[in-house]
Chain length 378, copies 4
């Protein structure tokens, strides 16, 4: 039997949503075990979290640097779940210590940082996952598989949107979560586009395999008093000549987390909605609808293998994130066993993370120059 | 009791879909009666249609000119349902003869033509309706009413789309209907945008009361072998500072006639879908959904008056078009009775039709100049 | 060209919903013209309606008897749209005068009456249509056609329901409409079951071709103060051994007119919903969903011929009723021309109407005897 | 900090779906840890599972009896996930050993067995949870809370259904899962009703607080060659006079796991669907729809406390089961700490499990006596 991997966490202290999410997602499959951490810049809070997690107090560190110094040799990977602006320095330290990294998205707050990490990961030969959760769904992987094998023909048009409503109101910047997102000092020039636009960009890249050639973006600041974008429209041109349109928003009242994907091909159409992730709709050229559910025999083996339950028994967001870790753990073990090949990687890497930042920066440049077409950095 | 109006028809011969549609829409309410026509450029076909309609053969004319010469004094209005490129000359002749006009959309194939008709209608003091059918739905009028009274606050973002799939396939230009639409000689520079984009532009103008200040358009020719647009993306900037995005397409496999409107305001959201026109969704600031149906007591009287059936008893496209004629007939009779005031007009006029052409031409100019912002002609 | 038929109307005076509905439904196709009527027991109201309809005042009669005496030879059919309890006597008089009848449903308020009319219609050799509107939809006829040809195999289970919410509230008997429905003197022993249950019974009989062998009914009186049923549960056993369950209700808050049909066969499933009648869902044995729309090429010719508009252009309740009259008019003309055969009848007849009453009476008997199985009269 | 509980598992060996489900559900929250087990009657398979789970081989036992003998003092609870027919003897042994029990549903295959366990649990003063997963959803608990506080007034009618399609085909008894379910020797007289009907009965009891007074059931054997029911219709009469109808089926092609609940009250309506468990629909008396999502501020605190993620981030079936264990673990710890009160129990107990068997047996009796009303054993 495969051994249980050991991991450390940076960030994810008391009150952190995303830290608990990663821990639960990993626990579902039980392929890795949390053994140490630096959960907060506040040592007392960090210790409190260690206690809640029944962790050895001696393995709870005041800083990630001390943790890496003491534990780099004992752990299989580090999970970075701090606010976005600190990802870069922490990830860099992990890479330099030769430790595999799982980092929440966006991987950094500039393309330059992300590209540097991407090169460093190559140089140090470590694995670097960026946790784009939605790509973990069985149906998302199925979408990728059937587009690749040609089920809908050539992709011609992509309509992708990710509207939310939580920042729709004047005088309300969305509490703790929203505060740093809407603050240019901590967010790196964009708010909505960094949080939601990068998800859309990554999901479409994963699903279609298309590269974005250029973008034309209009980043709106809608709510009075705000200084960063909260409603973004982006026209996209792909390398195969297809068009796309990405809409991300935080002012769409009544929308929770409405990542919706529609892909139009020369032979059919695919529709997918994040809030009902156990199904996917394929429309054939003759208008036949195939609503395929996770668990159906139509699901490709490379997607189906991540499912846990029969169709009709819902799997959700934690399960999708768990799937990322399933692949990450497999790759780590395969490298240990000498059976690793790069095509085993079934998660989004730091290279994909860097593409996200290149997308963001091209959109910013476009909007700052009057909504002109801007090439996306390779 | 109000007398039954008399109308003539130009176009709408054997095999014409739209001619029969107008005749049926008018018949539902029975406020006007077809008395004469010039149904086809082919006299035999025209006579055949007259017979089918149980019309006096003597009142079936070989040309619209002869018809106007003989009947201008006997009729209350003319319905023009010929292909788009001939609307201009026929409507002009009607106006010059002092006859009220109901013309299918788009009213002409250039802004100059439409503006000329608009001015001529003013000069001759005749009524000129352009039959944008979707604006006739009770729920569409209700949308207009509640936006006007502030139910969703200030409009901030409009997402409007009208995808179809009937022209998705290479080597198939959609039969008789599609042939002239995809032919630049008869379509006036655009295919998809002229057919669908004008519907979207008009519907949003009607619903929100917003004026488009400028557009940035990307008209795609997707299907190989085609010379006019079949997939259009348009960024819109309104006079109140709000943003919009209009997507119209004929290559979206699996979509019939999917005009979908979403309007995001500072206090709520409205969603409406042409294929289920008996309901409209309003989302309040606290996420409460109000799915209001035609026939509910919430419907404003100015919208409700057009309904015929209790809620849950579907009314469709013909009924919506019938509603346009209800208002048109009321206005004609009110002018006869001396009770007419301009605010009675509850249908789209030639002025709205001209705005549609201005929109189309601005989009064409934008796309021909590399997708730049272009002001829309007033 | 076929001549325009002439019809008379009994009932449908000022304020009547159903009279106007029939007139509009007939007007859509224009195959028949209203020429005379007895619109109300109140002569002044009758005359008012005649004026509104631009009818010759001389052909507006104070009673249906006088009308029949004067007009029987001039008209092709009579439309009966009076309250249910008077259908019997009026229809009987029409039959005896040898005039074709179109009567709203339920055809009478007892099985004995309906059976008598059925036999009388045979004897007098006249056509007798009962206007079960929902059976007129293109998708309803398509359902019938594909079940007949075996697309879903043998029918095994039927789930049919028709909930409404308009009588849910204590102290509110639903105004003019509800007043006589909830009054045993005028309703014939049932309220909800007579209005809604007969629709369900008829629709399933039409769609599946199955005969009901026996029923086990539980008719509830839910709202305090009411004396007739307002919520009905009926277990059904068909002649092929299949089971069914029919639920009809007037206390389902939030439901307008929610006739929903689900039919489970040995090879697939069919789902249909009255409030979105332009589509029907078929699920194949491999879970493939085929959402077929009116206007699609899959629609059988015997159903498709009733459609007027392309798919995506909604047709509603009036159009469905219009379709009944299309077939009725065809049959009348075919009898005139000597081309009639009984299989041309594509509407519900008085025989189907009698089956509805047999169903109602068996349900009443079942519920009055403690919810036991009761055979349905042939 | 609360200590981590220790649990044992009986059943759940290699290839078992339900064993892995319980282990994952518990792991999400990490409040309990698997320490020993008797995973299979086959000792080799049991050992294989222990190894997969990284368990101490010495704590993997060939039989549950040996396990209890060795470990009763070391564990906080036992999870029983064997086939239904063996639940009784295993649970009894646990109770006699004074160990808390979590048992999959149905708790036994007869009411007598279940009632005996219920009494034994009282006598031994141990906790006994039956894992009705669907009751664990936040939205299910919210439904219970708002019905209790009167949001929809008095419950008048319940429509509940749980159709599946996996056993629709002749000659296919659904593999390993279906084989014992359709076998009377191992299933206890019912197939579909035992698996699905008990879920419906329990869910409605939990949600409404109503007791079933009597049932009238029609258990169908639809698929040729089968000897147990595969399609069940049950009329229900509750103690408050309300009516209900429960439909459960395994022959509904195209349905995965379609537990759908609709509850009609004197002031409103509630709709809930298991396959989209993160939302619930409430319709008010004025037709306003409130689609409330897990994570919305409207959710009652007693339901909201089980949520992990913001609204729009899906939680599924494992999370719902995890919620049962959250309450179970809280109760176990509270008893240890002396803070336990019975109203802390927020999971379904063996008493609810016994009610399920009483329901099944009354339905069997009804159907065997010609579908008569049968009182349900208290």
């Amino acid at each position: 039997m495969a051994r249980v991997l050991k991991y450390a966490m940076v960030g994810g202290g008391p009150g952190s949503f995303i830290g608990g999410a990663h821990r639960r997602a990993i626990a579902i499959e039980g392929k890795a075990q949390l053994v140490c951490g630096a959960f907060s810049r506040d040592a007392a809070k960090s210790a409190q979290m260690a206690e809640e997690l029944h962790l050895d107090p001696a393995r709870c560190y005041p800083t990630y640097k001390e943790m890496l110094a003491a534990e780099a040799g004992n752990i299989d990977f580090v999970v970075i779940v701090t606010p976005n602006f600190s990802h870069y320095e922490i990830a860099k330290a992990c890479l330099e210590a030769g430790v595999n990294v799982s980092c929440d998205k966006p991987v950094t707050i500039s393309y330059a940082q992300a590209a540097e990490l991407r090169e460093l990961a190559k140089e140090k030969d470590v694995l670097f996952m960026v946790t784009y959760t939605y790509t973990g769904h069985v149906t998302a992987k199925y979408m990728r598989d059937i587009i690749k094998r040609g089920d809908i023909g050539e992709v011609r048009m992509v309509m992708a949107e990710y509207p939310q409503g939580w920042l729709a109101f004047e005088g309300d910047n969305g509490g703790k979560q929203g505060e740093w997102r809407t603050d240019p000092k901590r967010s790196g020039g964009v708010n909505c586009l960094g949080d939601l636009g990068t998800h859309v960009e990554n999901f479409i890249a994963m699903a279609t395999g298309l590269k974005i050639k250029k973008v034309l973006a209009k980043l709106d600041i809608v709510v009075p008093g705000r200084v960063l974008d909260d409603n973004d429209s982006v026209m996209v041109q792909y390398d195969n000549g297809a068009s796309g349109f990405y809409w991300t928003s935080q002012i769409a009242i009544g929308y929770d987390n409405a990542l919706r994907i529609r892909i139009y091909g020369s032979k059919g159409t695919i529709e997918w909605f994040q809030e009902t992730p156990d199904k996917i709709t394929i429309i054939d050229a003759d208008n036949t609808i195939r609503e395929v559910h996770r668990g159906y025999k139509q699901i490709t083996p490379t997607a189906a293998k991540y499912g846990r339950l029969p169709s009709g028994h819902t799997e959700g967001w934690l399960e999708a994130m768990g799937n990322l870790y399933t692949s990450f753990a497999e790759c780590i073990l395969a490298r240990e066993n000498g059976t690793f090949t790069p095509d085993m990687i079934d998660y989004q890497t730091v290279a994909a993370g860097a593409e996200g930042l290149a997308f963001v920066e091209a959109c910013l440049k476009s909007t700052n120059n009057g909504n002109i077409w801007v090439d996306v950095e390779e």
